[in-house]
Symmetry: C3
Subunit: 157 residues, 3 copies
């Protein structure tokens, strides 16, 4: 059977995470992760794969990357969540937009998140792993539209 209350709690967990990122709520965001949470964000535009190994590293990465010169929008929907006791998995359609204001550069892309969640002894769900393989990612300069280029393409041979 579908446990609708736990499903709703997991959705709200994910929404809180996304809101904390875009509103730069670095104090509040830590509690959405388990202490040993891992994150595997593909971000080819930034010139590196990310493979973060604990809550502190994830929060530090976000805080250090996303200062006030950066506007971000991380939007997720279409949750397909499976709960098995104290564990759960979730697939989400995801788009992100990162606008580096002073550089007039926009990075945008899409992916499907593949998350794992754990319910703690306190009854709270937390993210134990989050990651995705991008459908695509693109960058462009706002001064020069033909500068648009693909930096990731899941279907490239």
């Amino acid at each position: 059977m579908i446990d609708l209350v736990e499903l709703e709690k997991i959705r709200q967990l994910k929404y809180r995470y996304l809101r904390c990122v875009d509103l730069k709520l670095w104090e509040e965001i830590g509690d959405v992760f388990t202490p040993d949470a891992t994150a595997d964000y593909g971000t080819p535009s930034a010139g590196r794969p990310l493979d973060l190994k604990c809550r502190e590293d994830i929060v530090a990465f976000l805080r250090d990357s996303l200062g006030n010169g950066i506007i971000t929008l991380h939007a997720a929907g279409q949750p397909e969540i499976q709960i098995d006791g104290y564990e759960a998995t979730g697939t989400w359609r995801f788009t992100d937009m990162v606008l580096a204001v002073d550089f007039r550069v926009v990075i945008s892309g899409a992916a499907f998140y593949e998350d794992r969640y754990l319910r703690g002894d306190d009854g709270q769900w937390r993210i134990s792993h989050t990651g995705y393989v991008r459908l695509f990612e693109s960058t462009m300069s706002l001064d020069d539209w033909p500068s648009w280029k693909l930096t990731a393409n899941r279907w490239a041979s």
Copy 2:
């Protein structure tokens, strides 16, 4: 405890509001608001703050602003809704796109809605307040891409 039925009713209320805006259903939209509903939409591109004080004013503003020369898309998701008896609050991630066809101008932006809802004696939830502070808003001419400019930036110092 989470009252899932009331949560669903509030989500459907918000979805009906958004659909009525984009489909220009000005007769149907009134009933989503309480008579004394307030709206605080930040719209710097239109050269004014909006601070609407009742249902009639909100509906009149939408109908007068969004004629057939304007295509709009208002998309909200990631609802974080708290219910306390006959009152509720909701935070939503939001993006909007306004396309003034004849002028070949596009305004687009993002925000987090902060709404309040009331359940009436008839059991129906209605919006008693809706508003947001923008993450960003931008305008551009479709004939001239470097014309793109930010008209709102939450993080600007």
Copy 3:
């Protein structure tokens, strides 16, 4: 009364359909449709109305249209679902983006889906009809921004 479990099943059905399209899961996608499902997608950019008459035709159309040279993102949200026994209807806000990589052409648009669903003897919900009238659709070349043009506009007189 609202049957929340069946609502969730229908949402997950729609999310699986959308994910299968964007991840090109042509083996998995068939089971989201009834055998005699119909699809009415307005796609003026492709130079034809589509009016597909069975599951096999829908899947064949998607597989033939969306090869590895095409990146797609189909995003739906704001579900307004009504269930009546073994039948249901659903309205969804929808945006799509189709990127023809080699041609550096992007098609993007928005619509409201009007779907119908049926619950089979096996207890599974399937899509019996899906379709939409577009709010708008646009095409552009990534090499030439003023090439942007509207190919559909619901409000054009």
